[in-house]
Amino acid sequence: MDNPKASTLASAGKFLGPFLPAVVVFLVAMVWGTLASPFFLDIPVLLLHSGRYMEIGLLALAMTLVIIHGDIDLSVASNLAFSAAMLGLVYESGASIAVASVAAIAVGTTLGLFNGFLVTVVGLPSLVVTLGTLALYRGMAQIALGDQAVTGYPDGFVGADQNLVFELIPLPLTVFIVMAVLIGFLAHRTTFGFVSLMLGKNQVATMFSGLQPKMNRLIAFALSGAMAGFAAVLITARLGSTRSNLALGFELLVVTIVVLGGTDIFGGKGTIGGTVLALFAVIAVREALAIQNVNGQIQDAVIGLILVLTIAVPVAVSRLFGRVKVSRRKALLGLEKGTTQ
């Protein structure tokens, strides 16, 4: 039996592979931004601006876990809006900002559980369920706040996103990094994360090994809801006011970031690290375009183009050079997909 260590080089290649697109996009964007304007490469400012994206970052962390199972949650942005509305109403009814924040996270988690219930217990496809709750939760937020806004949050809370940790890292970025480490630990170091990955690869075979799929998928949806609640707290601190049209269209950007990070949309493959890298790649692209006064829609188009190329380029490359490489590798291993009935 040949020595397994000889293959670590191959597995290292495999390890870096999924992160390549995100890293390339990040570097290209940083270089492009620096060339485009002298004001761009100002790390403290860039870090400050990244605070705006940390709500999307939190949503992307939980969405990675949901997609690893082979599910999807399109309702995260509407969930965020309704949780923020609850935060505002609870605060207005006299509760402290801390109680209101906890209420927002609790509400978010409950909405996430409702998604999970419909998908795992009733057995509906997650794409259609969360398409429904995307509209349902946004409507609930609109009913809760109507055309009014909730303002008058305490000073310490509003603008909290401006304080720096160790004079460099803005608070929201720190919160995001902490959550990324926690969810990363859950996804890659615990049995829960391992089972999620295996369920994504083959749910029946994993069940035959004695592991229950319902509980794992339900927890993933609940976590996605909790992150929406948490993000609601962040956005309220950043804006200092709450309206029902918050976070419109966030869900599409979140899915783009998760897929850019190397997670397979059909489940079974994906890392939190990849998602974090992809988030910073998207921030770099946005900042590089913003410094050149490129308006919002063109920025979204560039991100959409990057998403499409992330998947198309490897396929094209493997198709062009693959023909030789693949056939030789197969001959080497003497493998041919046999029909083992």
Binding site: P4, T191, E336
Partner: protein
């Protein structure tokens, strides 16, 4: 009179294992030629080559004298060869008419489903299939689906009809109806290849028989010149190269007790016991409910009544049975047994996650150590641990699915077709493994359609037929004839 279908010197390899070894086989028009052999003998592969699904590595296939280079199933169909699968692959959302006429290639002007409705109804009446043309395919029984598959083949001037294991899930009534159809097609000059297991059925329907064993033609005889016993022995072959297990010495304790277990539509009122260190074999034909029995005992299939005890502990669900130390190696390795897209290590540690982790946190070193131990102990040949299970050969995959259960303290091993699609080398390794487990006191319940394996490996053999336990005999008294007769329902002499 030219031969309808001829294979000459056809050979085929899958990875290292040679599945077909220069096979010659031919069928005349108006003849029913049966193809026999145990599982893994290469029957289905040969027929897949004739029906254009695979290309032969060596040799060629001729239809009515013309050499065929089948690029695709469509070319085979164009040349008049049709294959009816055991589970016909049809379109559940479409109705009967649509399923039959979906690949209509003629000029489409003037053609509409209405215009051929009468013609289709005649086909079906002729085939004795009383199905309403508007019914959705999802609502139709397997027996009727087969006839519809035949009807869609009849539409294109059919020369050769290959029927693969058609009677497996049919009731006797439906088998008679199918045979009537085959006889009618025979009269119309269609050459028919019948792949089957039930010797009595084969003798009843076919004119000539060819027996395949380990990819080679063992013999070709006319139906009226042979008997079931001769056929059985040809299938099994004299030199049983599998060593017999030593007689079972009871250790008193019962590892598995099953009391009148049943699952609607699959099996009824099964009671059995497996002692510690005892290997109990379960014989029977495809579709007799053996796999479903194992799944119900293990807990992944709902049981409608009855009880299962492992080491005296009553089992409720799969979690309970695994905690009680049981493990299932299912029949379909690719779909249920292993996660093909996951690595070797991931597959091995999957059932033992709880023991390998601390408060839910994985301990990578401990996992790697266990995996290394299992891979070396079961001699799984692999270039690296990072390799995906799907890239392994059949034999290594089976060892892997055993390894994952041996990784945690096993009391009861449920194993379904242990050596199907496995190369000869791995076959004996797996048998010695199972015997070593039994020696350590593990109870083994093994389902097998490989006659030699069934007769030699277990201490005691049970036989199931159409969902019922019909016989139990110690290995010493069992012979292939008695087992085959019990399995196929022929009155025991």
């Amino acid at each position: 009179m030219t031969v309808s279908l001829r294979c000459e010197g056809v050979s085929k390899w899958f990875g290292e294992s040679k599945v077909l070894d220069s096979v010659d086989f031919s069928v005349e028009p108006g003849e029913i030629h049966a193809l026999l052999g145990e599982n893994g003998a290469g029957k289905s592969t040969l027929m897949k080559i004739c029906s254009g699904l695979y290309r032969p590595d060596r040799g060629f296939v001729e239809v009515e004298g013309q050499k065929q280079a089948f690029g695709s199933v469509m070319d085979a169909q164009a040349s008049g060869v049709a294959l009816i699968h055991q589970e016909p692959r049809l379109f559940p959302d479409l109705n009967v008419m649509e399923n039959i006429w979906i690949d209509f290639r003629g000029k489409s002007r003037g053609f509409s489903l209405k215009s051929v409705e009468k013609q289709t109804q005649d086909y079906l009446d002729e085939l004795g299939c009383g199905v309403n043309l508007r019914e959705r395919m999802a609502d139709i029984s397997v027996a009727d689906q087969q006839l519809i598959d035949v009807a869609s083949a009849l539409r294109k001037d059919l020369k050769v009809l290959i029927v693969d294991e058609p009677t497996a899930s049919l009731t006797p009534l439906e088998v008679d109806r199918l045979f009537a159809v085959l006889r009618r097609l025979k009269k119309q000059g269609v050459a028919i290849v019948f792949i089957g297991h039930r010797l009595s059925e084969i003798l009843e329907i076919s004119d000539r028989m060819t027996v395949l064993r380990d990819g080679q033609v063992v013999g070709s005889i006319r139906a009226d010149q042979t008997t079931e016993d001769e056929l059985a022995s040809m299938m099994v072959g004299r030199n049983i190269d599998v060593a017999d297990s030593e007689p079972y010495v009871s250790r008193g304790s019962k590892v598995l007790e099953v009391h009148n277990l049943s699952a609607t539509g699959k099996f009824r009122d099964v009671s059995l016991e497996v002692g510690s260190g005892e290997i109990v074999g379960v014989g029977g034909l495809v579709g007799s409910g053996r796999s479903e029995l194992l799944e119900a005992i293990f807990g992944v299939r709902k049981k409608s009544s009855g009880a299962v005890f492992i080491n005296g502990v009553r089992i409720g669900n799969v979690l309970g049975s695994i905690k009680a130390g049981s493990g299932l190696v299912p029949e379909d390795r690719g779909r249920n047994g292993l996660v093909l897209k996951a690595t070797l290590v991931e597959n091995i540690i999957l059932p033992s996650l709880r023991t390998l982790s601390l408060f839910g946190v994985r301990r990578r070193k401990r996992e790697l150590a266990l995996a290394e131990k299992m891979i070396s102990e079961l001699r799984v040949r692999t270039s690296s641990f990072g390799l995906e299970a799907g890239a392994l050969s059949g034999g290594n995959q089976q060892k892997l699915s055993l390894a994952k259960w041996l990784a945690h303290d096993l009391n009861l091993l449920l194993i379904d077709e242990p050596t199907r699609g496995v190369d000869i080398g791995s076959k004996s390794e797996i048998h010695t493994l199972i015997r070593k487990l039994a020696a350590r006191g593990v109870g083994v319940l093994v389902v097998s359609s490989d006659m030699r394996e069934l007769l030699s490996l277990p201490h005691r053999i049970l036989v199931m037929r159409e969902g019922e336990l019909v016989g139990s005999l110690p290995a010493s008294e069992a012979t292939e004839e008695t087992v085959i007769k019990l399995a196929s329902g022929v009155k025991v002499a």
